[in-house]
């Protein structure tokens, strides 16, 4: 069990709740969702509470994340896209903090479950579709018909565009899920080598130095991946929202 790299993704019930035959238990996953939200919310709330004209270090971290997401959204979707800023910022902060919290040993990684990332991706695509039709009506369907395509190719291009649009929630969610899952499994496997090798006495302890070094290095890599995947998720969200705002390419 110590070397079972899948065990860390196990969901266990903390408070069993069952409604209408469905299991809505408060699980370790739910606990870490709460932790993620509380940590991110409290950080943003407390660091900005002094409203310093000259920011403290922590306040400037909050301000940097704000301006980082704001400029990302403005670059991708223009100033009209700023109406989605709270959503994009919430997604970015949620994914980022969930990824980072998941890096602590024995902590559960919320984003390592496909259903969670898929729900977030569907939220994005759902917003794109709903807002796109609300704003442009059926003009939103121009998204699937790029301009300047010869008449014969239009059916083919439309087919490709539709498939690519439908694959978006899948690619968006699987990218985050797979990165988190694979990273944590790799980390667990190397860390497992350390413990199982060191059980073989002095030689094993010496031999476990390499996997220990790898574990440290991969932990660093995972911090990078945690940031990068949150960034990628937010950037792609911005680009898909741009489609909802400007479907005519």
């Amino acid at each position: 069990m110590a070397n079972d790299p899948i065990h860390q993704f196990q969901i266990s019930k903390l408070i069993p709740i069952e409604i209408g035959g469905l299991d809505f238990s408060f699980t370790n996953s739910a606990a870490f969702m709460v932790a993620t939200v509380v940590a991110a919310g409290a950080f943003l709330f407390l660091t900005t509470s002094s409203r310093g004209l000259v920011p403290s270090r922590m306040q400037s971290v909050s301000e940097m994340s704000y301006e980082f997401v704001a400029s990302m959204l403005r670059d991708a979707a223009g100033s009209q896209g700023m109406r989605f800023f709270p959503m994009v910022f919430s997604l970015f902060m949620f994914v980022l903090v969930a990824n980072l919290i998941g890096l602590f040993p024995y902590f559960f990684t919320v984003t390592s479950h496909l259903i969670v990332t898929f729900a977030l991706a569907l939220l994005v695509i759902g917003t794109v579709i709903v807002y796109g039709f609300m704003k442009h009506g059926f003009g939103f369907l121009k998204l699937f018909v790029p301009q300047g395509v010869p008449g014969i190719l239009v059916p083919l291009v439309v087919l490709i565009e539709v498939i690519s649009f439908l694959s978006r929630p899948i690619s968006l969610s699987v990218r985050l899920f797979a990165n988190m899952l694979a990273g944590h499994i790799t980390l667990k496997v190397f860390a497992g080598f350390v413990t199982s090798l060191s059980a073989f006495g002095a030689v094993g302890v010496v031999g476990s130095i390499l996997p220990l070094f790898m574990t440290v290095a991969i932990t660093g890599l995972e911090v990078l991946v945690a940031f990068l995947q949150a960034y990628v998720f937010a950037v792609l969200t911005c680009m898909y929202l741009n489609d909802a705002l400007h479907p005519g390419h």
Partner: protein
């Protein structure tokens, strides 16, 4: 659950079989809780409703909190700072233009003062020159007057002397003629002779 790994660790090398059994047992146990058996946890659909519900609750609250509290505050902080910087820059620009105006005014005043000083100096110099000129003229006039007075006197003295020279010559001539024994000579003749000799 966090204790089990350590326990399994110690047992692992000695009794591999037992470890596997324990692992499977633990698995089935946790799996049984969800009724999903030994499924790969992310694909265990029995946990989906709970995850979705709690994600919706937590993320929804997070979104509302950020949208209504944090983001307005952060945006406000950044906007206040931007306004403040713009205001300070404006003020700096205004102060700079004021300073420029003050420098210009100062320079103008300096130029005026210089011009005035020059004018005053010129006036003083002119006045002094005129005064000196006037004094010089006065002195020259006095000197001229004295000169002419002296010349007049000299002329008078000379004229007197010349007049006396004639009579002295006549007297002398009469005395010489008398001494020569030529008897008495008419005074008028002597005078005529002296005059002729004087020419």
């Amino acid at each position: 659950m966090f204790v089990t790994p350590g326990y399994a660790e110690e047992v692992a090398p000695a009794a591999g079989e037992a470890q596997t059994d324990a692992g499977t047992a633990a698995h089935t146990e946790t799996g049984a809780e969800h009724g999903g058996g030994g499924l790969f946890p992310p694909f265990d659909s029995s946990t989906y409703p709970s995850q979705l519900l709690w994600l919706a609750i937590t993320f929804g609250l997070f979104y509302l909190f950020l949208k209504n509290v944090v983001l307005p505050r952060l945006g406000g902080i950044l906007e206040v700072r931007r306004d403040r910087i713009a205001g300070d820059l404006d003020q700096a620009a205004r102060m700079k233009s004021e300073a420029d105006a003050a420098v210009a005014a100062y320079e103008q005043e300096l130029a005026e003062a210089k011009a005035r000083a020059n004018a005053i100096g010129q006036d003083a110099r002119d006045a002094a020159k005129a005064e000196a000129e006037a004094k010089r003229k006065e002195v020259e006039a006095g000197l001229d007057q004295k000169l002419s007075a002296a010349e007049t006197r000299i002329a008078t003295i000379k004229a007197n002397a010349m007049k006396e020279v004639g009579s002295i010559a006549e007297d002398t001539a009469a005395a010489i003629v008398q001494a020569l024994g030529a008897g008495k000579v008419d005074k008028a003749d002597i005078a005529a002779a002296v005059k002729a000799a004087g020419k």
